[in-house]
Symmetry: C2
Subunit: 147 residues, 2 copies
């Protein structure tokens, strides 16, 4: 049993899902993004609130509309663990693009995604995205870090 | 199959582990904290860096030393999913205490923990703790949110 995998076939399926999801983000394809989420998936997002439930096509679409053209989405240090009907992965991700105001934006953040196998298909039931923050009294989000 | 569990016995074991870990934090018991972690567990912490590997007793001890007396640690909205040899949970947690400088501190944050069953025992292989940040141009960490 490797450090990464419990079930190699399931790990391969999760890796393919994560890459397809990332390509859907790059192409701003709402339907393709949503296809990977369970209806009641729970998110801990980069922006407030602390917790939100049930990603909606209109929410994803509204977010895509704040960007011009395609998005950049890079995934590094992806590690996947899958066993039975539960799986999880973690990685360092870089989102980049140009906002509708014409501002270039780029951020490295951490992403943990949790999956369940439902009716034979792996679905995202929980995701957690964040940057750390500086504990120097400034409480500034560390949006300037790179792997 | 409920929305939460895949394997009820494993879910109960994870819930007991999470509560024991929290009590170890409250009591600042380094050995009891470490007992739940796999040696190569990977953390996405509240403070930089982006990623760190392998929690050490001296690291935990140094962090405990920044606090006076017992710590407060509350866990809310805990949801656990376990299947085969992989499991994960998410919750909203409140850490509170008095620093060695005598300052009262309290923060609500999100916590996602991922587990593997190793030689029959569930161990933490990954944890992700964070607060979101305000996307109003201030990049302030949202340390003032409550559930």
């Amino acid at each position: 049993m490797s450090a990464e995998s419990v079930n190699p076939a399931a790990v391969a399926a999760i890796r393919a899902l994560v890459e397809d999801w990332a390509e859907a983000i790059r192409a701003k394809d709402v339907e393709r993004v949503m296809a990977h989420h369970a209806p009641d998936s729970v998110s801990f997002d980069l922006a407030p609130p602390l917790i939100s439930t049930g990603a909606t096509p209109s929410g994803v679409e509204a977010w895509f509309a704040t960007w011009r053209g395609r998005l950049g989405y890079e995934i590094r240090e992806l590690s996947v663990t899958a066993g039975g009907d539960a799986a999880f992965c973690r990685s360092l991700n870089r989102l980049s693009g140009t906002t509708i105001e014409g501002e270039k934006s780029e951020i490295w953040f951490r992403r943990t995604v949790c999956f369940r196998r439902m009716a034979g298909a792996w679905k995202i039931v929980h995701e957690h995205e964040s940057v750390p923050f500086y504990m120097d009294g400034s409480y500034r989000a560390a949006v300037d870090l790179t792997p």
